[in-house]
């Protein structure tokens, strides 16, 4: 009886910690979504095709993750983690393309804005695809931790 209550309290503490992790994942997803909209709609930088794929994986997370927060439901991770992982893959590909490590001929976009073009470079190394990769990787890590931290 008392052992049950003990474990119940642990579950609660675990879930509270997991909630915070998912909350931060949502915060990153929302900030990235608004950031992408800022680049596109306010600064009017045309998104290249790889940017569109990253948007496709990022935008839904900003909307889906809150469903797992109220009330806390760890199964939201199962919906969001594939998005974060695929987004991280596309972003990694994009970063390597910009860095010139993947040769130009593999470049998937022929029309419109070339993906290898660097439109923003802060402090000499921060580019939009790098920001995107860091965001996707951080979200994936936070969600993974949240999943294993929380009670079933």
């Amino acid at each position: 009886m008392s052992a049950d209550r003990q474990s119940g309290r642990n579950h609660q503490a675990d879930d509270a910690r997991a909630w915070t992790l998912v909350f931060f994942a949502w915060l990153i997803a929302s900030a990235s979504t608004l950031g992408a909209l800022f680049f596109g709609e306010v600064m009017r930088l045309p998104p290249c095709s790889l940017c569109w794929y990253q948007r496709i994986f990022m935008f839904p997370m900003a909307l889906i993750l809150p469903f797992g927060l109220f009330p806390f439901d760890r199964s939201v991770v199962r919906a969001a983690l594939p998005l974060a992982s695929l987004g991280a893959l596309v972003a990694a590909f994009h970063v390597l393309l910009v860095a010139g490590i993947i040769p130009e001929r593999l470049e998937p976009c022929k029309q419109g804005v070339p993906c290898s073009e660097t439109v923003i470079e802060w402090f000499g190394f921060v580019t939009i695809p790098l920001l995107s990769f860091v965001a996707f990787a951080a979200i994936a890590a936070l969600l993974t931790f949240a999943y294993y931290r929380s009670s079933k």
Binding site: W26, L27, S30, F38, V42, R44, F70, Q111
Partner: protein, 217 residues
């Protein structure tokens, strides 16, 4: 409860930050946008550019136009009406900005028609029939030719002129000027050297009215 407040607070903070950054960005941009063309007046009006209206008109509108651009076709009669309402006071200078793929050949066609003094009927015919020769924003040269039938153009002469270095040079000069003036979309208007603060007919009308008022004194 605490979690809900945290969530709502964060959401509000994000939206406020976004709105603030947007406002800051747009106001800083409109401050610089008036400054850019002042230094670039030469790129705005070139001697070769087709012009309507008296040279000494107090108000000069420069329009970067793509014959395959839908909005350009919509604006064409509006600008004409504006000129008709203020006879002799507005001059319009057209610059080519063939941003649609393949639209460059259509511009060459127009320049060739111009050599036979038929630029305006040719341009009006093409703008009016845009949907026929440029379906789905893909200009088709053969279909564009068909729209020019009945204007009495010498087609052989036109084909020869379209390939002439003079016309190619004009188009590349226009494209180079568009690039140096940061023209990325069509139509783009400059009224007495000033770009539109934001795109729209009302904004154009206001800028023209201000220029008319400023020069009528």
């Amino acid at each position: 409860m605490k979690q809900k407040n945290l969530f709502i607070g964060a959401a509000v903070a994000l939206v406020v930050m976004f709105a603030g950054a947007s406002m800051m960005f747009t106001s800083s941009k409109s401050a610089t946008s008036t400054a850019i063309p002042e230094a670039n007046q030469a790129a705005l009006v070139r001697a070769h550019a087709p012009t309507v209206g008296p040279v000494d008109a107090p108000v000069t509108i420069v329009e970067f136009l793509d014959p395959a651009c839908e909005t350009c076709a919509t604006f064409y009669p509006m600008v004409k009406d504006m000129m008709a309402a203020n006879p002799g006071r507005i001059r319009i200078v057209y610059r080519w900005a063939p941003f649609h793929m393949g639209s460059q050949d259509v511009v060459a066609m127009l320049e060739a028609a111009r050599k036979q003094d038929k630029l305006w009927p040719a341009l009006e015919a093409l703008l009016a029939s845009q949907a026929q020769w440029s379906p789905g924003h893909t200009p088709q040269v053969a279909a564009a030719w068909k729209q020019l039938e009945g204007l009495g153009l010498n087609r052989e002469q036109m084909i020869a002129d379209m390939a002439s270095p003079e016309i190619t040079q004009r188009i590349s000069q226009d494209l180079a000027d568009a690039a140096s003036l940061n023209v990325t979309m069509t139509p783009e208007f400059f009224v007495n050297g000033k770009p539109l603060p934001s795109f729209g007919y009302e904004q154009l009308k206001q800028l023209v009215d201000e220029a008319l008022k400023a020069t009528s004194k």
